[in-house]
């Protein structure tokens, strides 16, 4: 334990779009977002009976939280302890006006109240009472306004402020924020009030390392005020559709910039040319920008670049020879550039450090695949929605480091899958395609390290499910081709590591299936929509104590049936359908 360990001030950098691919472009399972919480549990992380023994400190914190109404103040506690109590109350969603008052003058360092319901003016008094001790505040989604920001003026040591989705903060509010000269992190996502003029206040924040103004539509021209922020390493301008080439010129002198996000902005090849001086840039996210292959010439000057996302751009084969200048890349996302053909793959041959390659929906086929055969470091390969067929798989059969592979909506058939049998590092495999049947599954049985297997649309029958027994490590499984019956589900019952199971669209499944599923006690998400499940069968799910998401659309089950189950047995359930 220890308060110092509980500090997490980094903004939640969503680089999913960069690494996106094999783990699922579309969340077919439904409600998976609930499987992870946005607020991370900082301190008390275990309950009795879940592995290691709970420490006395943890027990005491849980006890105080349980009896919190009996305390009027916790200011007598050392700061690191009261911090842990506070974090636990936030995590367990027990904080309210009265309880928050208990923490007045507690010299807390971190108040991570992002997306916490119930914020009002009185909260700000307690927050500001932490005074110079306060180092980070997250009030994202809170409705905090300019006038309340004034109250923070005594918190002169603030290092991190997160005010994402706080529409009531305007340019005027930025003036108050500019007084926090020790600020290293500032996040103001989705604020339609901020303008270029308001951004001028940020010029005083010379210690700023991370700035996030994603989805701020009026900041065009404002980046000129960042010129003096030479410590800036991270800048997020994603979805600022006002940002254009001239803005890139304004940030071209930020020599320490390591991570730049300009996805869905108006930046073109001309704008990218201003970035040539950013010699420390390791990550560039240009997803959805109107840039073409011509920008590669500018990017070749960025010797430190490791991550490049140019998905949904306007790349064509013409000019792609310049990829040869980006040999150090580890992650390359070219997805949804549907004019890219096999011709460009030859230019990727030299990228021998490449670990992630996303070619989703590019116009590539078996012909170009031989160029990938030498990319031995590849761990993640996304070939979804391409014309790759069985012959193409031959060329990746030697990529022994491959951990995830997406072949959904390709023309690969059962006959090709045996070429994957040597990929012993594979953990994620997506075969969501009507071309795949039981025979294909049979040729994969030595891939015993698989943890995620997506057979969403594959034509798997009861007979094919016997092969699943080989995949003892499976944590996620989707078979939704409509051909399974209860007999098939019997073969799934021994996959006790499963946390996510989607058997929806198999309309023949009955309550008998739930009996088999009842032993899968690690399940966090279960989807059996469009089946013959009835409310009578729900009793079998009482053993699934970890279940957070249950989807039973178009079954003979009502929302009340599930609510009853939730209140009597499934306390962890946070998302269910029908609602």
């Amino acid at each position: 334990m220890g308060g110092a360990c509980s500090r997490k001030r980094d903004p939640q950098v969503n680089e999913e779009s960069l690494h996106r691919g094999v783990s699922g472009r579309f969340c077919k399972t439904g409600s998976l977002k609930w499987l992870g919480r946005s607020s991370s549990r900082a301190s008390v992380d275990v309950k009795p009976g879940q592995g290691r023994c709970t420490s006395l400190m943890e027990l005491c914190i849980l006890k105080i939280c349980e009896d919190i109404n009996q305390y009027t103040s916790l200011s007598m506690l050392p700061r690191d302890i009261s911090q842990q109590v506070f974090d636990e109350l936030v995590y367990s969603q027990r904080l309210n006006d009265i309880i928050l008052e208990t923490f007045r003058d507690c010299a807390l360092e971190d108040l991570n109240l992002g997306d916490y319901p119930g914020f009002n003016d009185r909260w700000m008094e307690v927050i500001s009472s932490q005074g110079p001790s306060l180092l980070s505040v997250d009030l994202s989604g809170s409705g905090v306004s300019d006038s309340l920001l004034v109250q923070l003026k005594d918190c002169e040591n603030l290092q991190a402020l997160n005010f994402n989705y706080c529409d009531q903060i305007t340019d005027c509010g930025l003036k108050y924020i500019s007084g926090f000269l020790r600020l290293t992190t500032l996040s103001l996502r989705r604020n339609s009030s901020l303008t270029a003029q308001g951004m001028s206040a940020l010029s005083k924040l010379v210690n700023l390392v991370k700035l996030d103004v994603e989805r701020c539509p009026k900041i065009h021209g404002g980046l000129a005020h960042l010129k003096g922020l030479t410590k800036l390493e991270y800048l997020n301008l994603n979805c600022c559709n006002c940002v254009e080439d001239a803005d890139m010129n304004d940030i071209s002198g930020l020599a320490n910039l390591k991570s730049l996000h300009i996805s869905s902005s108006m930046v073109t090849d001309d704008g990218v040319s201003f970035l040539k001086a950013l010699k420390k840039l390791t990550l560039l996210n240009m997803e959805g920008c109107p840039v073409t292959s011509a920008c590669l010439e500018s990017l070749s000057a960025l010797g430190a670049l490791l991550y490049l996302n140019v998905s949904r751009c306007r790349f064509t084969d013409d000019g792609c020879d310049k990829f040869a200048g980006l040999k150090s890349l580890k992650v390359l996302n070219l997805a949804f550039n549907d004019e890219i053909t096999d011709a460009i793959l030859v230019h990727l041959r030299g990228m021998t450090s490449l670990e992630t390659l996303n070619l989703d929906s590019c116009r590539i086929s078996d012909e170009g695949m031989e160029n990938l055969a030498v990319l031995y470091c590849l761990k993640h390969l996304e070939l979804s929605d391409t014309n790759i067929g069985n012959n193409g798989l031959q060329h990746i059969s030697g990529l022994g480091n491959l951990e995830s592979l997406n072949l959904s909506f390709t023309v690969v058939t059962d006959g090709g899958l045996r070429k994957l049998s040597g990929l012993s590092s594979l953990k994620f495999l997506n075969l969501d395609s009507r071309h795949i049947t039981d025979n294909g599954l049979a040729s994969l049985t030595n891939l015993t390290g698989l943890t995620h297997l997506d057979l969403f649309g594959a034509r798997i029958t009861d007979s094919g499910t016997k092969h699943l027994r080989c995949f003892k490590n499976l944590r996620s499984l989707e078979i939704c081709g409509g051909l399974l019956t209860d007999y098939g589900v019997r073969n799934i019952k021994d996959l006790t590591s499963l946390t996510v199971l989607n058997l929806s669209q198999n309309y023949q499944l009955t309550d008998r299936s739930l009996e088999f599923i009842s032993g899968l006690t690690q399940l966090v998400s279960l989807n059996l929509s469009n089946s013959r499940i009835t409310s009578g069968g729900l009793r079998h799910l009482k053993t699934l104590k970890k279940l957070k998401s249950l989807t039973l659309e178009s079954c003979k089950v009502t929302a009340n049936d599930i609510k009853n189950l939730q209140s009597t047995a499934l306390r962890e359930l946070v998302s269910f359908r029908p609602q």
């Binding site: 006395l56 400190m57 009896d67 506690l77 690191d80």
Partner: protein
């Protein structure tokens, strides 16, 4: 050091003689009994806590034993010896509300 027990002495001078293994659930006590700098503690197997009252120290000793018992049950379970693992209330360590704050301060000091 005398055998496998140690003596923990409270602010009021009450002495608790417990298994060394139990006491070492506390990282602080473990360090006191093993580090080269704590000669007296190592030599005599005694640790005095001038800041911890008798009531709290007794509760802490109870926790040490609860913790060991818990660990052994886990171990037995994992070894598939099919011993019955206590469930529900039996596995809970009860803390009296009036002791919580003081106990928490002590737990923090003892790194327990």
């Amino acid at each position: 050091m005398s055998g496998e027990t140690v003596k923990l002495i409270s602010a009021e001078g009450f002495e608790f003689v417990i298994d060394k293994k139990a006491a070492c659930v506390s990282k602080t006590i473990h360090n006191m009994l093993t580090s080269p700098g704590s000669f007296a503690e190592r030599e005599h197997g005694e640790v005095t806590f001038p800041e911890i009252s008798t009531t709290i120290l007794e509760k802490i000793c109870q926790y040490f034993h609860w913790s060991l018992q818990y660990a052994s049950h886990r171990c037995a379970y994992l070894c598939k010896l099919h011993l019955s693992v206590p469930s529900g209330k039996e596995t809970e360590f009860h803390i009296e509300p009036e002791l919580t704050l003081e106990l928490m301060m002590a737990a923090n000091y003892l790194h327990t």
